[in-house]
Amino acid sequence: MRKSSKTLVIDTATDYLYLAYLEDGIVKDDVHEPGKNDHSVKVVPKIKVILDKNKCALTDINQVIIGIGPGSYTGVRIGVSIAKMIGYMNDVDVYRVSTLALMATASKAEYIVPFIDARRGNAYMALYKQSGDTLSVIKEDRIENIDAFFSRITFMYDKVMTQKPNPEKLFNSEGLLTKVDDIHALAPNYMQITEAERNLRKKHAN
């Protein structure tokens, strides 16, 4: 991961559309706004706005950081499709990051729980520890019953849902960014197989 570069960060896996433009590892501009199932309409226009404001063409971007979920299936696919295309068209490095890790960068607390509601009493969650500007994973990304997850955490933590991320921290933290070796193989992290696949497996098991 090079800090000396023009970086575009994209995350569309939650209700919030998140974009950031970084130069040499420093956030120059960002977009963080709640959407109403309209990421598909807004992402490309907002990418254009943020790049135009900073006098940067999309072809000048030399690395992309993409939030690969977990989160909304439809949402995350929009961002991942766009990131794949940018990486492919311009032959630039693409780094994937967990959407939960990206969310955790918003907090200043020592212990951080990024949280995305997954309905029926479940949520996508993880637990991160922060020291200085560095984050490390204590509990990996998961989908779990909300009460069960929190009942096991006996210390103070900051639950992050809607705060604006600070992607600068990603560069300092070990293992949060993973370079994509084969752009064609990049896919969202859904965390779950589809209901149809589950039913089919059950049928075969019986």
């Binding site: 226009p45 499709s81 295309m85 940018i86 492919y88 896919a187 969202p188």
Partner: protein, 335 residues
């Protein structure tokens, strides 16, 4: 003018490159059909996942096949609907980011306009023209008096014809997709059963296949109850005869009423051999066009062709806020 077409409305991820709306330089289709077979039909969430997986590879294959690069493309056309929304959004956002990256004008295209313009790849359309659209999602008669103006004069009141085929095939225990299988077996069977021809004599150009479908399913069920042997080939033949009788009769009625100069049949069911044969045998006074098989099923060449004419005729381009639509009115497409 080089047009790149992008299509992802159902279970095919496709990118094509056409010169001047006709000359096909590349026609790449990544079909998911083998994946959905296990489920007896297209599973929307799985379809969307497969589109994301394959999207960049399909662009890459098409560019290599066409021997061109993105910089050579003058217009990018993408299916904006109707279709599965999660699937549509992959193609749309890919097309939009290509448009932004290379500053290529963007145009959203109606999927059915694509099926109609698939015919223009191989023969010039002559107006007024009647188009019969038959697929898993559509059964429509469309009148065109000039390029890129569509008047829907009739449509199905319930099931699409391809949908009825798939359901019949499932009941008969045939593999998915059912249409080609029923077609194949009907060629080996006799018309032993008298099935209804719904709406064949009505004064409109509408269709209905759900009653016919129920009739076939009920007969099958009752025969099983009575312990009779099912002649699957005869079931297929009898069903196919009923369906194609209605399609041909209604189409003929519309040809006479609107004095059209040509008929085109488009969509996946245009590949059906029984329909091809019967339509050509019964419509003899005007030319009848069926696209070649590779342009019948979903592809992006048809989207590029339609996009070219939309852009030429209406001087239309879309902005980066272009969105997908699971339902979309064809009549508004030409306005």
């Amino acid at each position: 003018m080089l047009v790149m077409g992008v299509e992802s409305s159902c279970d095919e991820t496709a990118v094509s490159i056409l010169r001047d709306g006709k000359d096909v330089l590349a026609n790449t289709v990544l079909s998911q059909i083998d994946i959905h077979k296990a489920y007896g039909g297209v599973v929307p969430e799985i379809a969307s996942r497969e589109h994301v997986k394959g999207v960049t590879m399909v662009f890459d294959t098409a560019l290599k096949e066409g021997g061109v690069s993105f910089e050579d493309i003058d217009l990018i056309a993408v299916t904006e609907g109707p279709g599965l929304i999660g699937s549509l959004l992959i193609g749309i956002n890919a097309a939009k980011i290509v448009s932004l990256n290379y500053d290529i004008p963007l145009v959203g295209v109606h999927h059915i306009a694509g099926h109609i313009y698939a015919n223009n790849i191989e023969h010039d359309l002559e107006f007024p023209l009647l188009a019969l659209i038959v697929s898993g999602g559509h059964t429509e008669l469309v009148l065109m008096r000039e390029h890129y103006r569509f008047e829907k004069i009739g449509e199905t009141q319930d099931d699409a014809v391809g949908e009825a085929y798939d359901k019949i095939a499932r009941v008969l225990g045939l593999s998915y997709p059912g249409g080609p299988e029923v077609d194949k077996r009907s060629r080996e069977g006799e018309e032993l059963y008298e099935f209804p021809r719904p709406m064949i004599d009505t004064d409109d150009y509408d269709f209905s296949f759900s009653g016919l479908k129920s009739h076939v399913i009920n007969l099958h069920h009752n025969m099983l109850q009575r312990g009779e042997t099912i002649n699957v080939n005869a079931f297929c033949r009898s069903f196919q005869e009923a369906v194609t009788d209605v399609l041909v009769e209604k189409t003929k009625k519309a040809i006479d009423a609107y004095s059209v100069k040509g008929l085109i049949v488009a969509g996946g069911v245009a590949a059906n051999s029984g329909l091809r044969k019967k339509m050509k045998a019964n419509v003899t006074d005007i030319p009848v066009y069926f696209p070649s098989l590779r342009f019948c099923t979903d592809n992006a060449a048809m989207i590029a062709a339609a996009g070219y004419f939309k852009h030429q005729t209406l001087k239309h381009t879309d902005h980066y806020d272009l969105n997908g639509h699971s339902r979309l009115d064809l009549a508004k497409e030409g306005l």
